[in-house]
Assembly symmetry: C2
Homo-oligomer: 438 residues x 2
Amino acid sequence: MSQKIKLQTEAYKGVRDFYPEDMAVENYIFKTMRRVAESFGYEEYGASVLEPAELYEAKTGEEIVSEQTYTFTDRGGRRVTLRPEMTPTVARMIAARRRELPLPIRWYSIPNLFRYERPQRGRLREHWQLNCDIFGVTGIEAEAEIISLAAELLRAFGLKDEDFEIRLNSRKIMDYCISGVLGLQGDDGKTICRLIDKKNKISDEEFKKTAADILGEKDKLLLALLNSKNFEEFISRLPRDEEAEKTLNETKGLIKVLDGLGIYNIRFDQTIMRGFDYYTGTVFEIYDTDAKNRRSLFGGGRFDKLLSIFGAPDLPAVGFGMGDVTMRDILETRGLLPPYRPPAKVVVCIVEKSALPYGNDLTQKLRAEGVAVLIDCSGRKVGDQIKAADKRGIPFVVCVGGAEVKSGKLKVKELKTGEETEVEEGQLARLLKNRAVK
Amino acid sequence: MSQKIKLQTEAYKGVRDFYPEDMAVENYIFKTMRRVAESFGYEEYGASVLEPAELYEAKTGEEIVSEQTYTFTDRGGRRVTLRPEMTPTVARMIAARRRELPLPIRWYSIPNLFRYERPQRGRLREHWQLNCDIFGVTGIEAEAEIISLAAELLRAFGLKDEDFEIRLNSRKIMDYCISGVLGLQGDDGKTICRLIDKKNKISDEEFKKTAADILGEKDKLLLALLNSKNFEEFISRLPRDEEAEKTLNETKGLIKVLDGLGIYNIRFDQTIMRGFDYYTGTVFEIYDTDAKNRRSLFGGGRFDKLLSIFGAPDLPAVGFGMGDVTMRDILETRGLLPPYRPPAKVVVCIVEKSALPYGNDLTQKLRAEGVAVLIDCSGRKVGDQIKAADKRGIPFVVCVGGAEVKSGKLKVKELKTGEETEVEEGQLARLLKNRAVK
């Protein structure tokens, strides 16, 4: 070793190491996500975390492109970005095979995403996010399916319907407010869009100042619209044309369909905007209803125009993204995470060295029958071997010495209860597979 | 859309997009890896693909650090690397919790790894790699377990023992050859180490030239050692001291233990070196025995000193890494990959619009009972709905119209055979779950 400097053992800033206990939580979350997405017939896809930087310079929220991405130049002079979101990637992949893929396309993925930002609770530099999207459906059946899938996911994690609320809005309605009612176009419109999106994160003063700068006298109308007590009051303040009426009816129809699907914890909310520029219709966000911690858990919406950035014909699309950090946090808070269990169900302890070949053989037989097992070849006292198994949380031990080798009769000990069961060697796998762990 | 430039739909150079059929192959490979690793009691861990660049400047093969990593500076001035291998990460994580973790530690992970190199068959810029490591065992039981795990993995993928060969060597023996026998120290020793490692990839002339430059007259001895027909001939050429004798016996003992575990397709090979500098003892590589394509599939070895780069006490360790690209390639070549099946087992086809609420209800009931199902709300002709299901490879359809709503009797049609079965609605889930797909 010619090592002079001692290396640090910390992970890179803002990312996580997953020790087995942490990894088991991630795996539980991912497994539940996969199971529910697949129960809706969604197929898993994937891609590299590296994407050409151009992909994000086209049509995402400005803040992200300018300040929040990890973008660098590779040794061959290509500008490359660690993906900050999955939607541009899925749009790219679908655009590439637009003609071959039968519609509708129902896809999901659980990518890791990177953002360069100051790490804080629930906002790390890297997180994983379930993305579910349906492509090729114009009608609200697509929204209905995506929103039921989102609700079903939360139920699968053990949340009750009263634990969350789905808040719904339509970008079309908001576009009508901003251009039709407030008379804003282009950049001014976008600025107001983002201002509404940030409303709950900034102070009233800051909001009013920016609104007044752009809207002048009309800032009061915007505030009246946003502060309406409910959706009925909100739309009562809107002068409506035929197009606006149609959009409103579409959203009302969606609520009705969801009602038919047994989803009642849903309401209109005219302050829901979603950050990204690419949304073109329905947007939704799911809120934790806990009075102590009312927060957005995740959201999504309709983006019918994203394929055009690749020169492909438009394809209607609805989707959402659900992050692992937020989910882990809410499940932890509510005590809904399963306890950690190591994979091995049993340790084969070797009482005397001469029993090792028999122990090895037994271990291999158990594995072949689908029992996860490890063997303790340390040579330490058998009592210490049992203690070590217990410390790791492995539920059973089988001790193998001269007597066992001779008789082929084995004693299985359950460490939590101390209960011992004697079995013939040939029955051991069956016993271990069927025995529930207390 | 104010889009002017049409974006490309290609992925970044040298990485892969995983469309559902490709993702299913990856998932099959990962699932098999997980199952086998866990059957040996190995626990899964994980970490971010981003690591501080210093981690790779300490003790990996020089080529990688200098030319082959993706290293960049983040917006906060930190130098960061996309991990090119997992071993430094696992060593870092274990060093950080050295005192809390009970020994031995058996861990696995399936990280993605990046190398900046010219993409070519089997050598992409990003690949996934199963890493299995055991920490805390000094004796050859560790090597025996790791090598059996490697062999068991190949068997689980459907390879037969005659399809692969495990080639074994010891860095201690090679160090003895290089310093004790050839008298090389420091950089010259390392250069010869790497030259041996590259022997099968470069021409004989190139090998001989470099060997002669460093060794002068002694180059013939090196060639004689490496070209020995078998291990017995190789060691017969070595003047042996007590230490060398001990090392040789250790390796012989390992072969004997593996023999006891039913692993016979193993042999010594003095040309196996493994690229990384951190190996300290046994090294092994597993070769495809196919005469048309004799190649290294993957390998590993013992690295007892890696924790010292973090200032932690040394911890003996043995491990290997198995890449997804090579595995996919060999499984494809041998026809061992399972065919693609979409997740949905059945499509609920809607014959007339009035049956939609019933269809939605049926869909939800099936999902609640664990049947993956999708519903066709397209409104197209039922014949086209069935054709679409068939095109996607979904095995069953259930058509729902007025008659079904009224009677609650449903017809399940298997698309491949055309076979129809009538069942009560309440029996449908059970039928679909138990019915094997032809």
